[in-house]
């Protein structure tokens, strides 16, 4: 797979504060990459260096296999975290202007803008002024403006914040489709459920440094399947089993965290002996739990 972005030991600091430290990552074509981290971890700083808004103090950034250059920007679509549009411009004029800046001809820009507006169910907003639209609608306009020039690399900083579920799914599906077509999508977010569903690769950064990186499957497989969900009828005495680190018990439903390397099968046997088991599931930890464990553990230290 072609590597679209490569950061090699990149560092950047503002004033006395290190925003990014020694960060390395690669984003491949046709993948969805999740850049995760708590607020202020350095996600936006990292993205800004990727697209040349700021320059790294140390390390190397390459876009499409070359050091950063102006021409490369036409192959990138960037949706910043803080959205901005010209408020008094008509939606269609605005979309055409932004697409022209990225190298499209006026006619082609207009054709694509109309197409996209129809696709995202907002054709009737095209002739309105931007300031007349709701926040969610404005966000969709900005989403479209990021994609009009069919960028190979799509960078989205918190793309779904502030959207209702229907529109969030609409945009998610659009991104998945673009990924299937071979575009690379970089997400920055702290919404773990979305990342878990959408991303193939992740990089978790905390205080400017990568603390966890790799393929989603691979990262998850590093963590034990040590969560157990049991649904049962009868005695809950099995909750005293030696393998259990902690447990929450509701009526006929227990959520259990096992001790490291504990034998789940032995727990099942014990439970089955005293109660009727209707569900016994060994679950891998969610990305959210991994996130809290990794980041929370560090900040406690």
């Amino acid at each position: 797979m072609e590597i679209l972005v490569e950061l090699d030991k990149v560092s950047k600091s503002y004033e006395e504060k290190a925003a990014v430290r020694d960060l390395s990552l690669k984003i491949e074509a046709g993948s969805m990459f999740g850049l995760l981290g708590p607020n202020g971890a350095g996600k936006t700083s990292t993205i800004r260096m990727m697209i040349g808004i700021t320059r790294p103090d140390a390390g190397k950034v390459s876009l499409f296999g070359k050091p950063f250059g102006d021409g490369a920007l036409r192959r990138v679509g960037y949706l910043p975290e803080e959205r901005g549009l010209y408020k008094r411009m008509k939606v269609i004029d605005q979309l055409v202007f932004l697409a022209e800046l990225r190298g499209l001809g006026a006619l082609e820009a207009k054709r694509r803008a109309t197409q996209w507006c129809e696709r995202l169910q907002m054709a009737d907003a095209m002739d309105k002024k931007t300031e007349e639209l709701s926040k969610g609608m404005q966000q969709k306009i900005q989403f479209i403006s990021t994609l009009l020039h069919d960028p190979e690399l799509i960078i989205m900083d918190e793309p779904f914040s502030g959207l209702d579920p229907v529109n969030a799914v609409l945009l998610q599906d659009t991104l998945l489709e673009l990924k299937k077509q071979g575009n690379a999508v970089l997400f920055s977010t702290h919404r773990m459920d979305q990342v878990e569903k959408l991303c193939d690769q992740i990089c978790l950064i905390d205080r400017g440094a990568a603390v966890l990186a790799g393929g989603m499957r691979e990262v998850k497989s590093r963590y034990e399947r040590n969560r157990v969900i049991i649904q049962f009828e009868g005695d809950d005495g099995f909750l005293q089993h030696a393998a259990i680190a902690e447990s929450k018990s509701y009526a006929g439903h227990a959520e259990i965290k096992l001790k490291p390397h504990a034998d789940a099968q032995d727990l099942l046997r014990t439970a089955a002996a005293t109660a009727t088991i209707t569900r016994f599931e060994l679950v891998e930890p969610s990305l959210e739990e991994i996130f809290i464990e990794t980041v929370g553990g560090r900040s406690d230290a």
Partner: protein, 421 residues
Amino acid sequence: MLSGMLRNTLLIAKREYIERIKSRVFRITTLLVPLGMGGLAVLGSFSGRKMEGVQYLAIVSSNHELAEEVKAALMEGEMPPKGVEVYAPASEADLAQLKSEVAEHQIGGYLTLETVAGEARPKVTWVSGSSINFVSKAQMEAAVSSALIREQLAAKGVPDSQMNQLMQDTKLKTMQVKNGGVVSSDSEKSFLGAYILIIVLYASVLIYGINIARSVVEEKTSRIFEVLLSTTSADSLMLGKLLGVGATGLTQMGIWAALLVFYAGSALAAGQGIHGLASLGITKAELGYFGIFFLLGFFLYSGLAAALGSSVSGETEVQQFSFILISPLVVSVVLLPFVLGNPNSTTAVVLSLLPPFTPIIMYMRICSQMPPLWQIALSIALLAGSVWGMVWLAARIYRVGVLMYGKRATLPEMLRWLRYS
């Protein structure tokens, strides 16, 4: 095929231009400024007509010949009254009658000429119902003086024909050395062009300078500039903005200029002694320099406005620096009388070479006494260079602004950030 940067610059200029032309502010100022100017012109011609001498008056004297001479002088003067009655000699009843006529505003007033024994000049008094305006005062003083001289000359036996020749007003013809030749000049008109430049530059810097600063601030507060910066360079953005706003300004000036040409050829202007643009004392060469200095001055100040706009965080702060923006213009205007008096002094030369003052001071020098060509060329080069420098600086500050949130950056902070970006 246009290069990417140039293409983007033009795209941005186009957007800025179209959005501004469509805006309400543009329509309002395009209409209001000429209306205001026209109103001033009408007001000027109206108040000019109001300046007139006394319409009806009486002359009271014991010397009948002198009274008749004064009457004749008044009637031949620049603003002859409609009626002059002579009471010479006047009775007590005449005086009482005159006083009541003044009181009832039937006459503007009466002039008494009392001859004093042994004195060549009579004692002259003007009695009226209101305080005298300077036009009437000058009118009467001139009439009395000329009558006295005529009387003295007549007493010395000078014939009437010779007397009229002697009494003619002196007409001063003014000439000026301009572009190597001596041409007739009108001291007021030759600076009219410079004054127009000052007003036009002042107005457009105030309107469009503030406008450009606002639009920069708007892009910053709406954060759209992060999208723009991820697409094109800050230099293209700033340059495009300046070109777009400049084109808007030129469009507006064009409309105004067309109106001015129309006005100069109109009946209203003819009534004020203006026939066509040439009688405003503006030559073609001056018009060319006007264009150059206006454009460069406009771009320099717009660049400064853009830089200031980039360094603040909110709309309200724009108001605070509008003074910083126009203060070099104010200083130029204050220095103007000095430059007019000494157009070739070292101070004037140095001032005209300093870019912020160049547009007004150098143009004024060109209008009053053509400076050496190398000075003009140097001042234009320096001005153009500083426009470029200002755009460069504004672009840097704009770029750094991505990193600013909420608060205004101090100068040292900005300098540090310039290094980071």
